[in-house]
Symmetry: C2
Amino acid sequence: MADSIRFAIVGFGNIGAGVVEVFSHNRAAINARLPRPLELVRLADKDLTTPRPVPVPPGVEFTDNVEKVVRGDDVDIVVELVGGLRPARQFVEAALKGGKHVVTANKALLADCGAELWALAAKHGVSLLFEASVGGGIPVIRALQQGLAANQLLSVRGILNGTCNFILSSMAATGAKFAEALEEAKRLGYAESDPTFDIEGYDTAHKIAILASLAFGQDVRFSDVYVEGITHIRAEDIASARETGHAVKLLAVARCDGPGEAVEVRVHPALVPLASALGRTDGVLNAIEIVGNAVGPVTLVGRGAGRGPTASAVLSDVMNIAQQMVDGGAPLDRRLKVPVGERNLRPMRETAVAHALQLSVLDREDTVATIQEALRAERVDVARVVERSRRPGEYFNLTIFTKRSSEARLQAALNRLAASQITVEPPTVFRVEESA
Amino acid sequence: MADSIRFAIVGFGNIGAGVVEVFSHNRAAINARLPRPLELVRLADKDLTTPRPVPVPPGVEFTDNVEKVVRGDDVDIVVELVGGLRPARQFVEAALKGGKHVVTANKALLADCGAELWALAAKHGVSLLFEASVGGGIPVIRALQQGLAANQLLSVRGILNGTCNFILSSMAATGAKFAEALEEAKRLGYAESDPTFDIEGYDTAHKIAILASLAFGQDVRFSDVYVEGITHIRAEDIASARETGHAVKLLAVARCDGPGEAVEVRVHPALVPLASALGRTDGVLNAIEIVGNAVGPVTLVGRGAGRGPTASAVLSDVMNIAQQMVDGGAPLDRRLKVPVGERNLRPMRETAVAHALQLSVLDREDTVATIQEALRAERVDVARVVERSRRPGEYFNLTIFTKRSSEARLQAALNRLAASQITVEPPTVFRVEESA
């Protein structure tokens, strides 16, 4: 096809196979929407021998010469699905420097050096698109860059890792321990054999770094994100949360209260209302809630991973570039990008967050007064107290919801509480994210 | 500002006021994202005297000479917020013919003659954007046109009218009658004094016509949509639905089972699972679930109406046009449009839908056999039967869920059932839309 738009895929693993599969299957529909047809000309992977879930399509070259593919002159668009920092960065840079547009699903790369890569793309007059990097097939990048562009965004909060959400949902549904739910996730193919990247929150942190950059126009990187994983969550903590109407979710939060205010970016388990969109997002689904000052809250829900959803996002980006190539005009990065303002990030120790203290305390006359005193002494304000269960004269279980306070103050209050010797066991502390 | 991009608003009512307000408030943030600043130069309305919720900003001309605004050479973008068919169509046509880009929130206009207007825009090399026409600030148009572009879409289903959803949610929550819930909606400003357009489903039908056109690449108009409103819904029907785990929603459905298959487009009350994203969307919220063959289901939820959300969508469109004007390239219509394929729409009488029959029947030995016979005689297959309550020896209440069958067959089965004289009162029949 003389006037086709040619693309190549670097990295023929699971996601690469998905892109091949969806492109083959939807080719007629895709090309009907484009002014010139798309053609997959080359697949590159350093490993040519491992069996793939889909065959190499007829007419497509399959090569282990990745360098040639990213530097060659016979492709217009390079799809980078290698993942990780090295050698993916070198591949992306080589392609951009060679004047090729790049589509990537690589969240780690963008959260590590996205600003440098976008600058490189701009310098060479090409596009670097990345819808697949966050939320699988959910078109959240486009929503932030285009559909909600007229808003001052106040917050982006999301459930961005299907593995963690499956584990927490499964613990909530069955009362299973973390380790048991993790094993089940592995068995069902929802967790890697080494699940560290997911369960420690790193995957989520990469994604929220990208979303925060777009939402607040700052260069937010993985290393800027406060991260706490879910390995310490116990089934009984989740049950206690349910008693107060909350679910436990690994939440990514990026927030900015207004122009000139600092941006906070954090990933940690949090209580969210069971009746909220985030609280109801169970299993491997992802959900992203964006709050804009004009639009209010908008929530996007869908499959956040997997071959089909990721391929949907990758190929939609490829189509966008193909349209732009034919129609002319500036590269899409220029069109889409947000200004990278001065960095103004709030460290976690200065971030005020609402907390829930799940306490098991002695049932004495002075118990409530003692707790209140410990909190008041550190100026931690109480929003409400929920008694969950009681064995009169022995102990009772309650959850204290605090208003927003700094982590430092809360820790000091907890120390006072420990010293008072009224707690039967160490308190479980969750951050709380209420409905927008 | 010599090199600003100038826009004018035609129609200074509630939504126009919202656009003025959000633009004034977010101007710095909006212009920081644009290569050249946006400037509101003119507001036009035939009525200059009615007090507005926001003042005319300093430096903005307020005129009743609408013709001059849509034809004048000193604006680049015309925002049409007049609504309705006439004179809005004339205004839009005049602006497009004069080489001005147009942004509109006018669903009625697009569902009536969108194809003609898009063609006119293309002919004159300008853009006609309409994100605000469906789902308020929810960026669903962009999702269909760009983010999910690589999918073959299978269905688009939505709760697209906040008035109806408020009424139905309120009836479900309080057991109020339709008329009572409508009165409450009026009192709270969620329903017009003449609510016909909303409660008869016409507003929803306009919106699904637009979504179906984009999703399936066909020229679907309001007049193609099967429409049934909510005025006949009774609180007891909603209570019966809840007993089987369903909510009653006014649902817009556009569906196509695959390439070459006919497209069905319909608006009617439907049972949806209480536990689904659609079933959980209460109050004035809108929700749109899009199912693509690669991405699976993606659901977008947010405020579907009101000044802020609509202004968010309108101004995001204006920003998109401003970026394109500076960056060059083909108009966004070209870039965004889907091919208008041959029309292949399935009439409602040929559409197979699953149904729920809420029955109150005599408690006789032959009751179940009689019902099954009536259905079987018309080849209506039963999916499941749920007994809701029973007064032994007198009557019992049950819901029969059928598999998909044509409306004609179902009606014939209902006629047989009526003739059998086992029903205590006329059955309530709902269409059923299960989770994707």
